[in-house]
Symmetry: C2
Amino acid sequence: MRILAKDVAQAAREQQTDGVSDGGGAAGEVELKGWVHRIRDMGGVVFIVLRDRSGLVQLVLDKDPALTLESVISVKGTPALNEKAPGGAEIKVQALECIARAAGDLPYQVNGDPGKTGLEALLDNRGLSLRSPKIKAIFKVQATVIEAFSAYLRSQDFTEIKTSKLVGSSTEGGSELFEVAYFDRKVYLAQSPQFYKETMVASGMERVFEVAPAYRAEKHDTPRHLNEYVSLDVEMGFIDSEKDLIELEKGLLTHIFEETARKNSAELALWNAAVPNADAVSQSPTVRYEEAVKIAGAESAKMGGGRIFDITPEAERFLCSWSLREYGSDLLFVNEFPRRYRPFYTYPLDASRTMSFDALFRGLEITTGGRRQHDYQAFLDVLPKFGLKAENFTNYLDLLKYGCPPHGGFAIGCERLTSRILGIANVKEASLFPRDRRRVEP
Amino acid sequence: MRILAKDVAQAAREQQTDGVSDGGGAAGEVELKGWVHRIRDMGGVVFIVLRDRSGLVQLVLDKDPALTLESVISVKGTPALNEKAPGGAEIKVQALECIARAAGDLPYQVNGDPGKTGLEALLDNRGLSLRSPKIKAIFKVQATVIEAFSAYLRSQDFTEIKTSKLVGSSTEGGSELFEVAYFDRKVYLAQSPQFYKETMVASGMERVFEVAPAYRAEKHDTPRHLNEYVSLDVEMGFIDSEKDLIELEKGLLTHIFEETARKNSAELALWNAAVPNADAVSQSPTVRYEEAVKIAGAESAKMGGGRIFDITPEAERFLCSWSLREYGSDLLFVNEFPRRYRPFYTYPLDASRTMSFDALFRGLEITTGGRRQHDYQAFLDVLPKFGLKAENFTNYLDLLKYGCPPHGGFAIGCERLTSRILGIANVKEASLFPRDRRRVEP
């Protein structure tokens, strides 16, 4: 019976206690399967570190099996406690089979420190760099983020939806879209499920979420952008303002952080990272846009930096360090963005401001959201102010024409949130197979 | 405080019991919000059926509020038990506010029977047809399918992944791909996450799943095809044959059916549908391809039908009715497909057969899967037999070169499974915003 690396110490303890055979094979014999992570030949005794989905464990052999690193093996042996072994236990191997021999010309050192390899090389050798425990940890955390996001929203009576990523035209007005040859016409990859999630709110589902890819044909290559990313989308009906959404996101992030702490302590440790606790999230301030620009400016001046006129990436970093100092939280919300900075469908607070917000976390914007215009006539009236024509928004107008409640929502960039949890500098590292202007492989 | 339609009867009972005020407003007053589903003016008294995310409830008013169907309203009133009201309770309305008035020219009758509207009209008016309780039920069930799929696999130590849908080339050899203009080059929408999920198994995650869109540029328009669908993908390492995968899928489907029965009894009732129980799933037979063709042929002959040479859609229906009659289950598995019918990377059982399978459920193929070739040299050797060149598979070869365990997986078509659970004839009805050759809107 196969056991996992993480269970070897327990198997060794059980064996010591009851000393009984498990019925099949030699007394206390167990089987493990995995990859050859490290080989150390001490002459007379050979140590192999085996890596499986659960972690690492040391194998002890009395002769050299002539293996290559990263080969897939199956071993049978006896678990034994050993204080000097990683994890406090090891396997004394009786039999070893090589299931798949790895070629000897590994282009990437899986058992090394991935921090010493440049990003491009990590991505060029993605199949191998993902074998590094520290890199795999990123995606174990990301899986928890997605699971916790979904679980929390279900607990709040949200329904998961899956909407089309092929759209005939763009809600946002057509910029930064990838074009798809769709039979005899052109369509586009969706930048966001905005229209569809609003449609589902208006359909009476009221509260919906979606986890799906989103696409931005942005040419610039920065540590904060991906051309394809996983968007964690939320939309809900019957809200009064963006403040309802900020409260929802606080609850959501609290749950995501708690689940990450509970399930991924090993992965957090590999990155020397910690998540904010519930108190820190609840103390996170909400700052109006105008005030946020002033605060960032004052912080910049203190640091001898330049003037700040907008919530630039630099301003996001200043705001998070300010919030950490003043509120004990490097999560904060900026609301009431000016109308000129927000899409036309954003609900106005007054002539110049909107019921919209961003969430900033550890120096990076991770969320944009807001209340949307739900009134048919008000929507029609605002279009010309943004240079838009009603005939390009017939779907939207149909949505609002037949009874649409006040509503709003937001989206969390999954890779951005993952990267901020672990302290990863470039968001591409938090995407399994990132796409940028030059990279579409592997 | 807002309550939901489904909670009105309980609120009425509580009020009868303790007769106390809830503190705010009139004694026992509650608030409800939702859509005007139906209006019946009896002269002197007006009945409105209100629809919210939880269901329907009757409102009683003593004068006509002059509302239109589908308008969004908020009402305050007193819950009261009434055996004649749907659900056994109603709201005696004290105050009503119209939040969003619907235009009077509804192009689709939301409170009618959607079965009386043709599919094209249902899809043309998607924002409105999704308001029909019976249609919304499809997507409540679909949400359960996705949740239960993910939960079961997590319980078996699978990790959720999100992989790129933009690929430089196709694993399957290039047919039926949608082309995307990606900056200064062409890429394609992924037909499946096949290569990526195999990469993640080989990376040491061993067991992975993904829920994501998949694309097929098939021109034909049938009740069983979508050009964009939600693929429920699974891949696992260290399997012996496709039989391990069939066992996994049986456990998975059992959990999906049990969760659907538990959470969606109201939705199943609207469709007059029931899910198979655990016994039926466990009794589902596995039939070899050659035998399955013979069985389908014999069934066809009995019905006076034509000869059967392959597992055609007609043969799928014959096999499921045979399985239901002989094994009490209209789920069955067909394995050992001939090599010529399976992709080149399918693991051979012998010279002519493969370790592959399909799952058929209620007359429709819902799953294709199998063990994959994990041996580098065997993979290289098979390429020329399929007319393929090694230089087009460098990513795949890199994956196998450095230690890849025996592995395999499968994919369940989410819309197909949903449609079979509810007895929906056309798979497009089980897609929120389906895409076919002519339809990219809404």
